[in-house]
Symmetry: C2
């Protein structure tokens, strides 16, 4: 079974890499889908869940950036429900067969499936540029604000990851392959990454 988990720095293109890799391998990629399922099960508004799911801990920090304000009083219950539901759903996906899972600490949640764990990162300049290219109309963050936002989101990811297991998010030791996307066109790496991933699974001792 080929389970690939993608962890990534905000703005590094990890989600794109995961999606394209899954296409290249002809297997499903789980990301928004997970959130939608959580939303359905819990009956919460999808956008709200999207914001509180993986990065819920960010809410503990002053949320100076973002178009929605969160209901802090609800966080603890939502946290517990979301976490438990996420784990259940992610494991159900893995149970179904080969897949790519982006984020959601899947590297830890799916540990017993022996996944290939990939970390995607980039220089701060490259991440800033990517965020700018993908910014919604009307977003007018300064570089400083954007960098603060990126750091805040990554901090949330790291805290979530490290809460589940005492292991360092973003430290190369936690992953099998770390890919720096600075100055590279992700879509053009995929035809080479697909055989790499297959070779990794075939040749695992």
């Amino acid at each position: 079974m080929r389970i690939i988990t993608i962890s990534r720095e905000f703005g590094s293109g990890g989600r794109e890499l995961g999606k394209r890799l899954a296409e290249g391998l002809n297997i499903p990629c789980y990301d928004h889908e997970i959130i939608e399922l959580i939303a359905k099960e819990n009956g919460f508004d999808e956008n709200y869940i999207a914001r509180v799911s993986e990065s819920f801990i960010v809410a503990a920090y002053p949320a100076t950036i973002g178009s929605h304000m969160m209901d802090y009083s609800m966080m603890n219950n939502v946290q517990l429900e979301t976490q438990a539901t996420q784990r259940k759903i992610i494991r159900a996906f893995a149970e179904k067969g080969d897949c790519v899972v982006v984020g959601r600490a899947a590297d830890i949640i799916l540990r017993d499936y022996n996944p290939l764990n990939i970390f995607v990162y980039a220089s701060q300049d490259a991440k800033l540029q990517r965020c700018r290219e993908r910014a919604k109309e009307g977003e007018n963050f300064t570089d400083k604000e954007m960098i603060r936002k990126m750091k805040q989101i990554d901090k949330g990811r790291a805290l979530y990851h490290n809460l589940l297991m005492d292991e360092a998010w973003g430290k190369k030791e936690s992953y099998h392959l770390c890919i720096n996307t600075t100055d590279t066109e992700i879509k053009n790496l995929i035809p080479a990454l697909v055989p790499y991933v297959n070779a990794w699974f075939e040749n695992k001792k």
Copy 2:
């Protein structure tokens, strides 16, 4: 031009990966060759140079392990000569064309050639096992001694690297691709790594 530099933790198989990758790309791999050239230019004994070249700083620490004792009084002159000669030779190699350079802080020395910088690492258990498999007859290090040796050598590599440039050896940010060789058969990754490397060079923005 495809210049690939391999940095690696001791025992992770980085040298093997570099050599096999160069074969796969059909380009030269520089490693021992560099040391031999240094030896010729400086008129030193080759084994001696091999020990003092990259990891010369290790000598500043108690050398409790190793079959040769070093002449500490000579270190400073040897350091300077070795460093300068290494830089010269490594750059001369790169000037000749496509190549893989293993270690010797080539990622920094060849920075203006826009190399693909790969870091190779593995879990401590995997490195220990690799060292055991490759141990010369008569070597009888305990695990504890072997781990101390591995750490000492990596410390030397890090110090040498960070002396040349204020950048962290072994931190993923310093590399384009970080490969964890734990539980993987290096030779079987090469047919997948070769297209990856070529794609990286072709698609560099």
